[in-house]
Subunit: 639 residues, 2 copies
């Protein structure tokens, strides 16, 4: 097996060592708590037992959701990201054991799916709508690529290749169909990049191109009765596909799964938001490989729609619970669904958009999403997770330890473990510093070996020092100037730059680097943000932002019901409190609240009679909410 | 059969003739369209066929909801109110025919309920939770009393008496139980008042007193499996009582039906709001009869809780859709449920509270509810109805012609047809003018025959003239000074009063009346109302009110999305437009809206960058919304 490099040399996870005051404790908890707990859950939930039963030729007795296999794959993927960055013999042994189970469960034809093998072997590939068969295949492939890259071991990669070959033999030939939940498309591009085998890229393109081309979708195959759901062994309930794939009048609509029209024709981001992110990520991968202008235009149009009309200030997406997804432009109700996995999917997509274009705005959005929409999904102690991330709560929304549909915790584990992939990137022989996270990277740019050692004080203060050494080689560096900073000063070896620093985008620096030090100071002034006038939910409200962090008011810090705070002062003070929320900078200011005088037994009275008074408020970072006494929370404060 | 007068002489419906510019067209449509349509529906829906089948000794074949019989009773009641006020031989003939069917369907033992007789005759009185058996009995009794009072005919009254006797024989003796949906309690007091038979009053007291005294409710009887619901013939789905009568942990909770604790101990209005109103109305009736101080205290406490913490500015009640009812103090979300029937129930309750106390605040609330929370439920043409009455809509909430659970239209018909009952009242030999609706009344107060002829210009302007004649007898009159007026001038025969006019409550006038004219002018200045600071939904918002009418903004009249209007001017103009909404006074003013400059492709930006500009807005009466092009609506405008 020879590794194909993908789109030019890249910075790999193994090249980066993260040692950051903010992120490292979270990554450590992710490794020691979350990934460990996930592993225990694989046994607890019957996930591994499913593989064992298939390997032993048993039938029936399936446990868990019909996409239960993907839990094992996501765990292997997360564990592999850990193994890429550190030796951990015990973890490696556990991973190898699980891989061995999976390999044993693979059929002679390459098929691996314990649900179908145990429960309805005769129905392979008949219900692409709901049964996540190709979704599980995609996670198998992603885990195999991650494991191979981390360890060089090919056992799981061989399993993935054999299954991918089977899928490629079946689809486009005997079956014309696409998955109900996208995932395999981006996985196939990864498999192409690691193997160099073009049939995987072609198969990814087949799935992307076929999607939405037929008004009954291409996936109903010849078994239309599989549209109906039902209750399966061990209580798994499979939703009726008609409930998500039809209009009220009964006609077919694939919007839930982005299959209402071909991707290249889509004008707005629609449907289930995780599905959408995975599809758009795959399409961007495809565009990186093909440079197809129509596809690139579609992707950029969809990104613009999402970021200018359908995204929370936290980077969260998908307001509606019923279909876990997007609704209409400017529908950004603060009782948001904003699934943690959707924020993670957005990070995946934006990373690929950056790779495609080299534009800073995608790295900006990754930063916003990491620090807010994503990070809120994980409790400070790493043991509990939000599925939904509202921007306002009455106090009854809390993280939970695990979910029946446990997609968020493993996805969060994957992202935290692979954080190193997002800090540095290489494009066209330029080295990009995209995220300010204390870390070192050693990589080859052109003929030069470059070492960067970054010491960042974000998000709490705005100082970043980067030591650069390339043994005197001239290497172009690009440093992202965050979109949120109002002013940035940069020095090299203590000398201010002659050139001006752009207000956003990349600062380009090139010299013959030998033990040079770049220092950036980014402004962290608290700003009050306003939403577009068409966002009804935020009309007459502001959100506080400082650096990359969105802030919120929590009941535990504030005396009045949160809706009573109005007109927060623009002059505020900030203070880092080491003992609060594992260390956090709070924002303190004054706001106006109604005088309660005279309201004794009235419910409505002339507005002119109510006085207001100034009082103090305290805001904390949004990501940290719901880690103390339960209570209400709101991001958007009345202005 | 001799008529018992109830609590002293009263003004009956037959004494009042309504001839009002605002209300009479609505009452005419109610009579000609709604009541006529209801009659047709009795045949269409199988309601009458159910009675015929029972009379013919058939079994099975039941059509409609399990409380379908009540549709017939409500129609008879509404029709009887019409017949009390005018001759209508055709209507009277139809009523007699339906009554004859009901009488034929009555069992020898007095039992009448076509659902149980046709579907499960063996299960009488076994599922008091959900099966509305006593609810239907209550509506039978109410209709019988109304019909007897209107026509003097005793056919239906005899049916009701026989059934009430059966209920009284069964309950408190072989069965200890209370109905899941209150209604029979207030009906039994009516039956007592018209017959003078105290066992009906005692039975009403039994149901009221027993309610909430047992933590398993008193109604589970010996058939606990009837707690579960199911699907019955013709698709009627009976809800599982456990879904509404249990806490999340499975323990029993009668809050939905006000049975969580004895009425006299209840501190807050809770549960299904129509059920609550019917119970409290019955309890107030009981208090009128018994003067029991503990009961009166409880009723007044509940009224205070409702009106100071749990009522919309429209008089609507019950924000939550799931249980059609009350939630917590100050939860007044504008996406309100606020069922039309609950507003009607509130009118019933408040009328009894007035009768109990003689206090004007109850008549004030009747006025507020009639003009707003109730009237919005009926379309201008009288053919369509709201079940829910939100105070804010995105444009997707519209009245419908009829409902599967068609409780609102017949209830609206009952109220409109009996409007005359709310205008004048007699208490302790004083004659009260409670509502300003053009009408005449001739009644006996003490020994005097008094005739009042009222000419009111409400709600559009504030002039009211009342001609009084009592052949020179001295009769005390009490004229309600509406709580919303800021100033009131009163003249008698053109001469200003010497005494000052109270700011609210009653103006008392007594003289030897002979062709005298009283003229009131009430102030109709537009006021901006604010809600209590603990009402999160209305924080930073105001509602416009003029006279008794709450106003709203509708998209059809205003260029901008309604959430963009802010800071409405206190100086506004009003104009009566005869061609708009069948004639209505609109409010026009200026408000601030965001300048759209510079928002092209941004979703969030520093708040300081957005300018605002003044623009015109037009507000229309809330009751009239959704009678033109569909669109958004909001009552509470950002202040």
């Amino acid at each position: 097996m020879s590794s194909h490099g993908g789109p030019g040399d890249t910075v790999t996870l193994a090249d980066v060592e993260v040692d950051d005051e903010f992120w490292s404790p979270r990554r450590e908890r992710n490794r020691k708590v979350t990934i460990e707990y996930q592993y225990e859950q694989l046994e607890e939930s019957g996930t591994l037992e499913n593989f064992r039963r298939v390997a032993a030729g048993e039938s029936g007795g399936f446990q868990g959701m019909w996409f239960q296999d993907s839990d094992a794959y996501k765990w292997i993927e997360a564990a592999s990201y850990v193994l890429a960055q550190r030796d951990d013999p015990e973890l490696e042994e556990n991973v190898d054991a699980v891989i061995s189970l999976i390999a044993d469960a693979q059929g002679a034809d390459g098929y691996v799916n314990t649900y179908f093998s145990l429960v309805e072997p005769e129905n392979r590939w008949t219900n692409l709508h709901m049964m996540h068969e190709l979704y599980c295949a995609g996670h198998l492939i992603e885990s195999a690529v991650a494991h191979y890259r981390a360890t060089g071991k090919e056992t799981l990669l061989d399993v993935a290749i054999d299954f991918a070959d089977l899928v490629d033999d079946v689809f486009g030939d005997e079956i014309q169909g696409v998955p109900g939940h996208e995932e395999i498309e981006l996985a196939l591009v990864k498999l192409y990049r690691v193997t160099g085998t073009t049939r995987y890229l072609d198969l990814a393109k087949y799935f992307i191109d076929l999607r939405g081309t037929d008004d009954r979708l291409a996936w109903e195959i010849d078994n239309p009765e599989t549209l109906g759901g039902g209750e399966y062994e061990d209580g798994a309930i499979i939703p009726d596909a008609r409930s998500v794939f039809t209009h009220e009048d009964g006609t077919y609509d694939g919007r839930y799964a982005q299959a209402h029209e071909p991707l290249r024709d889509q004008e707005t981001v629609d449907g289930h938001s995780v599905r959408a992110m995975y599809l758009f990520a795959a399409a961007t991968d495809l565009a990186i490989e093909t440079s197809e202008s129509e596809l690139i235009e579609a992707i950029e149009r969809l990104w613009t729609n999402m970021t200018t009309k359908r995204m929370y200030v936290t980077g969260g997406i998908g307001p509606e619970e019923a279909h876990e997804g997007f609704t209409t432009n400017y529908d950004l109700r603060n009782d948001a669904y904003a699934e943690t996995c959707a924020a993670i999917g957005s990070v995946y997509w934006n990373q690929r958009l950056f790779e495609l274009t080299g534009e800073a705005k995608y790295a900006d959005l990754i930063e916003r999403t990491l620090y807010n929409g994503f990070l809120a999904g994980v409790s400070l102690d790493g043991t509990e997770f939000f599925y939904e991330n509202p921007l306002e709560s009455d106090g009854d929304h809390h993280r939970k330890g695990w979910f029946t549909c446990a997609c968020c915790p493993p996805n969060a584990a994957r992202l935290l473990a692979s954080l190193g992939e997002y800090i540095y990137s290489q494009r066209e022989s330029e080295l990009y510093v995209n995220q300010y996270v204390s870390s070192t990277v050693t990589t080859t740019v052109g003929d030069a070996t470059v070492k960067l050692s970054q010491d960042s004080s974000l998000p709490w203060s705005g100082g970043v020092a980067i030591d650069v050494d390339a043994d005197g080689a001239s290497v172009p560096l690009r440093l992202r100037i965050p979109e949120w900073t109002e002013s940035t000063t940069v020095t090299v070896n203590g000398e201010p730059l002659e050139a001006s620093v752009p207000s956003e985008g990349y600062l380009e620096l090139e010299r013959e680097w030998t033990d040079d030090r770049i220092e950036l100071t980014v402004d962290q002034t608290v700003t009050q943000l306003e939403a577009h006038p068409d966002v009804a939910a935020d009309a007459g409200r502001v959100a506080l932002k400082r650096g990359p962090l969105v802030y919120c008011l929590e009941a535990v810090d504030n005396d009045r019901p949160l809706h009573q705070y109005e007109d927060p002062s623009s002059a505020v003070s900030t203070e880092y409190r080491p003992d609060l929320l594992e260390g956090a900078t709070v924002i303190e200011g004054e706001a106006s609240v109604p005088d309660r005088e005279g309201w004794d037994d009235e419910l409505y009275r002339p507005a002119s009679e109510t006085a207001r008074e100034r009082t103090e408020f305290t805001a904390v970072p949004y990501y940290a909410w719901d880690n103390r006494d339960p209570g209400s929370m709101r991001v958007w404060i009345r202005s």
